[in-house]
């Protein structure tokens, strides 16, 4: 399997062409995706046209960009001008955005080739990609299992070698958990590091776009291409992209690593073993690992399931049948709104819209949303105290390896628990990455998670590279 860095180098030095890398990716999709269903839409014509533009630049002796000719997959909650974007929901079926997300424009400017749009849990709400209105995605390592979610399509597309890089979005673990379950690298950048402009919002204060890739170096190259201030996103940090590629080989010598009890509590024994081995690998590379407990992290899941649905209930109000997407006609506007939303949204989306509406309602706001925000503040303080003693935190990404299709669909709480280790850093905004590290008793991939303080991506990537080398 050729990495993105290798592909780009070959395209840039003329060893191959973007046309060739793109055709290879399209062929891989054609060969694998009938079974895996990672893609909701393959933009063959658009991809080949983009490849030809890259090749034209190269032949003119101009710089085609650091990701020249690298096939990429885009989670279908990222707007793509002229290409259908559904968020895996019936309510947006057939909608074609008139604009592209900032990250898409930046990838294309860097020479990358968007191959198509990948499957997800409807509006990114789920942990298995089974909540897609268009059918589930299968895990490339075991077709009877889920790829995780909500960015399951991008994770599966990368893991199956159809594309070198996938973009996902991570609201409570939606990049890291599927990356772990599919055995690839997944990055949840510091909140504000990557522009959200053009990302169909689930929970605005938690959503963050990031890469999925087969190597830490590929993820770094992608992050440098998409990160950095965007004037179209008021919450984007007012600073350039972090220099993560240059930091990859810095190692972890002397780094203080906290092994967080709450990020292991409840994990399966094989997952715990993998994390402990990862700790040993970091120590072997010169880091000082110490066990640490951050009890506030236990409150994360409860706070998350109030804050995220509350924001979602507002973000998803616009799907009312008036301007775009599905419309189910009825006697008057209000009845049309209700009929459209009743038919257009799936059960999990409805569940969260109702939860969020309740949490924000007069008389309940203080007890639910208000209290959850106070918990969030506590979580930020807990991390702040950890950073006084540690440079990095280590834990599991997901409690188990990939579970079977249908295993948790009847039990929302069991599904929610698969994000228990990833949610805290969404609430606090911290930088996070998952790296494949060994296999479980069932032979399936396990991911271990590294956290760094906000803007500490260079350090986080360097440590991830150490684990990658030791895995």
């Amino acid at each position: 399997m050729t990495t993105a860095v290798e592909l780009a180098a070959a395209v840039r030095d003329g060893t191959t062409t973007a046309r060739a890398t793109t055709e290879a990716a399209l062929a891989a999709v054609a060969a694998n995706d009938r079974e895996l269903h990672a893609f909701l839409h393959v933009d063959r014509d658009g991809a080949l046209a983009a490849a030809d533009r890259v090749d034209a630049l190269t032949s003119q002796g101009r710089d085609p960009g650091p990701l020249a000719g690298v096939p990429v997959a885009l989670k279908d909650n990222l707007c793509t001008q002229g290409v259908p974007t559904t968020a895996a929901s019936r309510i947006l079926e057939g909608w074609v955005p008139p604009y592209s997300a900032t990250v898409v424009d930046r990838l294309v400017a860097a020479g990358a080739i968007p191959i198509g749009k990948t499957n997800l849990d409807e509006f990114a709400m789920g942990s298995s990609t089974e909540n897609s209105a268009f059918g589930p995605t299968r895990n490339p390592h075991d077709h009877g299992r889920v790829p995780g979610g909500s960015s399951g399509g991008s994770a599966a597309a990368v893991a199956a070698g159809m594309v070198a890089i996938g973009l996902g979005s991570d609201t409570g673990g939606s990049i890291r958990q599927p990356a772990a379950l599919c055995g690839v690298v997944g990055v949840k950048p510091t909140y504000g590091m990557v522009s959200r402009y053009g990302l169909i919002a689930f929970a605005s204060s938690l959503d963050q776009i990031g890469p999925l890739a087969t190597t830490v170096a590929d993820a770094a190259a992608c992050l440098e291409a998409i990160a950095g201030h965007d004037p179209m996103d008021a919450t984007s940090l007012d600073e350039p992209a972090p220099r993560v590629v240059a930091a990859l080989d810095r190692g972890v010598d002397g780094a203080r690593v906290g092994l967080v009890a709450e990020l292991l509590d409840g994990a399966a024994p094989d997952v715990v073993v993998a994390v402990e081995r990862a700790a040993e690998a970091l120590e072997a590379a010169g880091a000082h690992v110490a066990e640490l407990t951050l009890p506030e992290l236990r409150l994360g899941l409860s706070a998350y399931y109030l804050i995220a649905p509350a924001e979602a209930s507002s973000n998803l109000a616009r799907y009312d049948g008036v301007r775009y997407g599905l419309r189910v006609d009825a006697a008057d506007v209000q009845a049309m709104n209700v009929a459209t939303r009743t038919r257009g949204f799936g059960d999990e989306v409805k569940r969260r819209v109702m939860l969020g509406t309740y949490a924000l309602s007069a008389g309940y706001y203080d007890a639910y949303y208000g209290r959850a925000q106070r918990v969030r503040t506590l979580m930020c303080r807990a991390f702040a105290t950890a950073w006084e003693r540690c440079d990095l935190l280590l834990g599991a990404t997901a409690p188990t390896t990939a579970f079977e299709l249908g295993a948790k669909t009847a039990d929302p709480m069991a599904m929610y628990l698969s994000d228990v280790f990833t949610i805290p850093s969404n609430l606090s905004g911290e930088a996070a990455i998952t790296v494949p590290f060994g296999r479980g008793d069932d032979g399936l991939p396990i991911g271990v998670q590294l956290l760094g303080r906000a803007r500490a991506e260079p350090r986080v990537f360097a440590a991830a590279r150490v684990l990658e080398a030791a895995a």
Binding site: L78, T85, P97, A201, S204, A234, A317, R318, N337
Partner: protein, 464 residues
């Protein structure tokens, strides 16, 4: 005071559109009257994935309003106000809720009454819905058309304390507030175009008793209808009380034609807007330097200008002072203070009482003169007629046929007059200045008084 001796209590909520070049959260043009749905983009259409970015100029204008109303300008945040409505693209409105930018100011009316300003906060406007069908009303309409040009236009909502005690006082408050908004440059103050919208909270009580239950009255689109609506609503409530009933808290709609208010929705039907902090925007905290720059950029406010004018008038009658006050208070309309001063001190003062002038008519007339639509002579003639009939200056000028003739027509007329009076022209050219007036008179006769005398003199000098 109502007919039954109850005291009227009024607080006003005034929404003003801000005169920015672009909308509150995107780069679309902020302009009234354009072709529907031409000033729109993913952001103000609320398309999936779009995000708001705050317009710095809108914040400055909001700060200017706050400064002019002597508010405290505070760190503030935006909230989402959630409710479904087809002309609101996101189905929530971005507004300021419990932490607004301006709090605790006041406004002093020309008669000295001080009205508290509770807050003046920033929010976005909605689109505009037109119901199309046989009746033209919502019920029975075949379909609705929505124009999103107005969606996302910046607004400031100015909430007064319940310090007003009559419909007349409510009118005086909005008149003064409008003049302030125009003076700050934040608003053009046009109630008819909806750039200034007023809702009134009205209640009645025995003088000195605690406040009664209030009703919110909407849909007043002129100062006159505001005053009428407040007076009618107070009388309606007084009648309810007199009949032994209790006033229900509700929102009522002013029906201009019927001259009464009708219920729109009751407290029980009130929305739960589920306000929560807008996660897509950062807190707003203008620093002292920025606040000071905004304050320094403000021109003198109407109250200060009135004081200067009154002083410059010297000894004036009360009637003159009131007239000057109302002219400048109402709206500059582009009228230079010197012009207002001159016309009011001379022509208006000369009319004697009683006359039927109102301040807004005088301002409109002086604006016509300032724009050059009317000559000084014509202005005086229209003013005379306005004082007699109370009609609008536009209507009078049109009825009198007083549109000034254009430059080309004036030149042609002047040439013809000169050709017909060669002797007088020769004497004028030799230095007989008195003959200039002769030529002006001849041109006026030929044009039926539609020429600008100064332009005629200028034409003579050019030809000399």
């Amino acid at each position: 005071m109502t007919a039954t001796g109850l005291e009227t209590v009024v607080g006003l909520e005034v929404h003003t559109e801000l005169k920015t070049a672009t909308k509150l959260f995107c780069g679309c043009r902020n302009r009234f009257g354009d072709e529907p749905n031409t000033n729109v983009c993913p952001v103000c259409l609320g398309l999936p994935g779009s995000l708001p970015v705050l317009n710095r100029r809108a914040v400055e204008l909001a700060m200017a309003i706050g400064t002019a109303l002597e508010c405290e300008i505070r760190p503030s945040i935006f909230h989402r106000k959630n409710y479904f409505y087809p002309d609101m693209p996101k189905d929530y409105q971005i507004s300021q809720y419990d932490e607004p930018i301006n709090v605790g100011g006041h406004l002093t009316l020309p008669d000295g009454t001080v009205v508290g300003i509770v807050r003046a906060h920033i929010e976005e406007d909605t689109g505009k819905t037109t119901h199309v069908g046989e009746t033209g009303r919502i019920h029975g309409a075949d379909r609705a058309l929505v124009d999103y040009n107005r969606a996302g236009v910046p607004l400031v909502e100015i909430v007064s304390a319940p310090d007003l005690r009559s419909g007349e006082a409510a009118r005086a408050y909005v008149t003064e507030l409008r003049a302030i908004l125009v003076a700050t440059g934040a608003s053009d103050g046009r109630m008819e175009e909806g750039s200034l919208r007023v809702d009134a909270n009205v209640s009645v009580r025995e003088p000195g008793a605690p406040f009664g239950t209030r009703c919110e009255v909407k849909n007043m689109n002129s100062l006159r209808s505001l005053q009428r609506a407040v007076e009618h609503e107070a009388e309606r409530q007084a009648a309810v009380v007199a009949a032994g009933g209790t006033v229900e808290q509700e929102t009522r709609h002013w029906d201009e034609d019927a001259g009464r208010t009708v219920p729109l929705r009751s407290k029980e039907e009130a929305y739960d807007y589920r306000y929560f902090p807008e996660p897509d925007l950062l807190p707003l905290a203008p620093d002292a330097t920025w606040r000071a720059a905004v304050a320094a950029s403000l021109p003198p406010m109407p109250r200060a200008r009135r004081a200067v004018l009154v002083e410059r008038l010297g000894t004036v009658t009360d009637a003159q002072r009131d007239q000057v006050a109302s002219v400048v208070a109402d709206d500059d309309g582009g009228v230079a203070p010197q012009l207002a001063l001159a016309r009011v001190a001379n022509e208006v003062a000369a009319l004697g009482d009683p006359h039927r002038l109102d301040a807004s008519g005088v301002v409109a007339l002086l604006a016509m003169e300032a724009r050059g639509d009317l000559s000084a002579t014509q202005t005086k003639a229209v003013l005379q007629r306005m004082a007699e009939t109370g009609e609008d200056p536009d209507a009078i000028a049109a009825a009198m046929g007083l549109e000034q003739i254009g430059e080309d027509a004036l030149d042609a007329t002047l040439d013809a007059v000169i050709a017909a009076h060669t002797d007088e022209w020769a004497r004028y050219r030799e230095g007989d200045e008195k003959l200039a007036q002769f030529f002006v008179g001849q041109v006026m006769r030929e044009t039926g008084g539609k020429a600008d005398g100064k332009a005629v003199v200028a034409g003579l000098v050019r030809r000399r």
